[in-house]
């Protein structure tokens, strides 16, 4: 990952910890709903935390394309950067 996304990646990993009861190592390739244990309501909690953390709003069309932790980090970077 590039330098400016590394802090976002670290922060995102921290937000994802509650959904990682098996304690797997989270990498940019980790599939959020596949490898972690997060259902549709918990996803919205996570999205809300991300939005509050960065003061952004993630549109639904973008959310539907996010599969991996790396996708989420890139989306945050893109939206937060555009502000």
């Amino acid at each position: 990952m590039q330098n400016d996304v590394e802090p976002i990646f670290q922060r995102t990993c921290a937000l994802l910890q509650p959904f990682n009861p098996r304690g797997i190592e989270i990498s940019p390739d980790t599939d959020i709903t596949g490898d972690l244990e997060i259902d549709s309501v918990a996803v919205l909690d996570l999205i809300m935390e991300v939005e509050d953390e960065y003061g952004i709003s993630l549109p639904m069309n973008l959310i539907s394309e996010i599969r991996t932790v790396g996708d989420l980090v890139r989306a945050i970077h893109q939206i937060a950067g555009a502000k």
């Binding site: 709903t33 596949g34 244990e37 549709s40 996803v43 939005e51 639904m60």
Partner: protein, 585 residues
């Protein structure tokens, strides 16, 4: 931004839904000041759209659509965001004699592929000639519609730039109104074909009988406009009675549920509905300070629909928000389904929620509901909520599996008849025939009984799973599993069982051909991941040997028999990651 549209018109006379068509109703409402208001996730008013402005832009867009020279009644698929553009285009179709088909929005993280397949099948099923979505979603629509030759796919802005052609004729009283896709699984969608007559009859009954709407009532809604409760309850009913509506997006509500209550509090809302799940979400999120800020005393009808009403959830909500001025007599239970446009019955207004506490064993043994003894232990009883009498002109009957009419307190299938019942599913006579009796009743597939003239619902359409207010068809879960390498068609069965916390736990039984423990372990993980990604629910995965799933006499998978075998302990749960994770949560 200025203030929202007023709750009541200054001089235009209130009319309680006595219109022949939606276009007539909009023509009339446009003479006043009321209309729709759209709020952001942070509670700011984004757009106000008085009915007068809605009518002007709908008429303009109708001319643009008319310029496409489509046959009368051609289908226009609309991705139903809670936005002014959706409303403008929905009513443009009414003026242009085209049938709007509201389509859902993606709701899951990583759910893009499943969503594209879903709307692709809907557009096919409706044979859509046009599909419209905002710039956020048009890419997904283009992907879904890439194989539909000749279908125009455009944003609202692009529709507005088409050449205007005069001479369009609005839908008349004997013509269609819209097609709604909330029935049937994603893999085989069934479009409820609603006529103008059904739409005006159902809304008129809601206005005059179900909710007794009067001048000054104000609606607040976050319900999706691609579902009957959102579209009919909180778009068409307000239009027919010239009410103002304050809208919050569905995804915005799910993220910040208290925004719903804040809007009711600030705008003095009087009518708002939700499945039980919405009340539960608010009750769990509310901090004490938030409760002090709200004034919910204006809330006259807090309706519950869309799922079985669970009394405990409502109790907790009423207790939590009593300090905000919420009155528990505002709760109104209801029963309805898209096949009946929306509503069938409402419990009486201004009363407490009425329940019937019955003996569980007697019900299982005889199919009759007998009041439980006052000292019966809770585990031997079950409380069901009374959902009211059918609205005038609408009929209800309870029948057994052989079609015999049952009496008071006997549990059977709920059948309905009346002016709101659809003529059928769009271009799907087989599915229509499957739910129509020879004597002209519609079999809802739901189970219930009658008590003092009121309907009591005990179970719903037999295979449907409802998780967090969302309807999930087991076929869609099975379908997601069957796409995994090494699993074949017919290998998976999905159903739900009651979980210890009164919610629903999804269980999947999957036939597999490998005995290798490592391979089995990874298969279980792949299955739960596939189910989570496609439908957003956690499930318990149980592996079973080939040919162990029970079939019906016609060779189809029997989910009910599979569930019975599971509950009887026939399938040995695998000592798996997925199972243990479920047990912890």
């Amino acid at each position: 931004m200025d203030s929202p549209t007023p709750a009541a018109n200054a001089s235009l006379r209130f009319r309680a839904g006595d219109f022949q068509t939606l276009a007539d109703a909009l023509d009339y409402a446009a003479r006043g000041e009321t209309g729709f208001n759209y709020y952001s996730v942070r509670g700011e008013l984004k757009t106000r759209l008085p009915y007068a402005e809605l009518r002007t832009s709908a008429l303009d867009l109708a001319g643009r659509l008319h310029g496409l020279e489509l046959e009368r009644g051609a289908r226009v698929a609309l991705v139903a965001e809670t936005s002014p553009d959706f409303h403008r285009l929905f009513f443009a179709c009414q003026y242009a004699g085209l049938i709007p088909v509201p389509m859902p929005l993606p709701m899951n993280l990583g759910g893009k592929d499943a969503y594209v397949r879903q709307i692709g099948r809907m557009m096919d099923s409706a044979s859509a000639s046009v599909a419209v979505a905002s710039s956020d979603f048009i890419g997904l629509v283009r992907e879904a519609g890439s194989e539909r030759a000749g279908m125009l796919m455009a944003t609202p802005e692009e529709i507005a730039e088409l050449p205007f052609r005069d001479g369009f004729v609005p839908f008349g009283p004997d013509e269609p109104c819209y097609i709604q896709y909330s029935s049937g699984s994603t893999s085989a969608p069934k479009g409820v074909f609603v006529s103008q007559s059904c739409a005006v009859n159902n809304t008129r009954s809601i206005i005059n009988h179900g909710l007794k709407i009067h001048q000054g009532d104000r609606c607040v809604s976050w319900l999706p406009l691609y579902h009957d409760m959102g579209l009919v309850g909180f778009c068409l009913t307000p239009l027919m009675s010239q009410m103002s509506v304050d809208y919050l997006g569905t995804a915005d509500f799910a993220r910040r549920p208290l925004g719903w209550l804040r809007l009711i509090s600030e705008n003095r809302g009087t009518l708002s509905f939700s499945p039980p799940f919405g009340y539960d979400l608010c009750q769990r999120r509310a901090s004490d300070s938030a409760i002090g800020e709200f004034d919910l005393s204006s809330w006259r009808v807090a309706g519950i629909g869309g799922d079985m009403v669970k009394v405990g959830v409502l109790e907790r909500f009423a207790e939590r928000f009593e300090a905000s001025g919420f009155r528990r007599s505002a709760f109104v239970a209801s029963y309805g389904l898209a096949e009946s446009t929306l509503a069938v019955s409402f419990a009486p207004l201004d009363g407490e929620i009425e329940t019937d506490r019955i003996d569980k064993r007697e019900l299982a043994r005889t199919g009759r509901t007998v009041p439980a003894a006052p000292d019966a232990p809770p585990e031997a009883t079950r409380s069901f909520v009374l959902c009211g009498r059918p609205m005038p002109g609408h009929q209800l009957e309870i029948r057994d599996d052989l079609g015999r009419t049952l009496g008071e307190r006997e549990v059977g299938r709920i059948l309905i008849k009346g002016p709101s019942v659809m003529e059928g599913y769009f271009e799907n006579p087989i599915a229509t025939a499957a739910i129509t009796t020879p004597d002209g009743w519609l079999d809802t597939g739901d189970l219930g009984y009658m008590l003092n003239g009121q309907l009591v619902v005990t179970g719903r359409s037999k295979d449907l799973i409802i998780c967090n207010g969302r309807n999930i068809w087991p076929q869609d879960i099975e379908w997601a599993i069957e796409r995994i390498d090494g699993i074949r068609r017919g290998d998976a069965a999905a159903f739900s069982v009651e979980s210890p916390d009164n919610g629903e736990q999804v269980v999947t039984i999957v036939q597999c051909r490998t005995g290798d423990p490592e391979r089995r372990e990874s298969l279980i993980r792949e299955i739960s991941a596939a189910v989570r990604t496609s439908t957003g629910v956690d499930c318990e995965v149980v592996l079973a040997p080939p040919r162990s799933l029970p079939l019906t006499s016609s060779g189809k998978l029997s989910r009910a028999a599979t569930k019975a075998k599971y509950l009887a302990g026939v399938f040995t749960p695998s000592p798996s990651v997925a199972t243990s994770a479920v047990a912890e949560s």
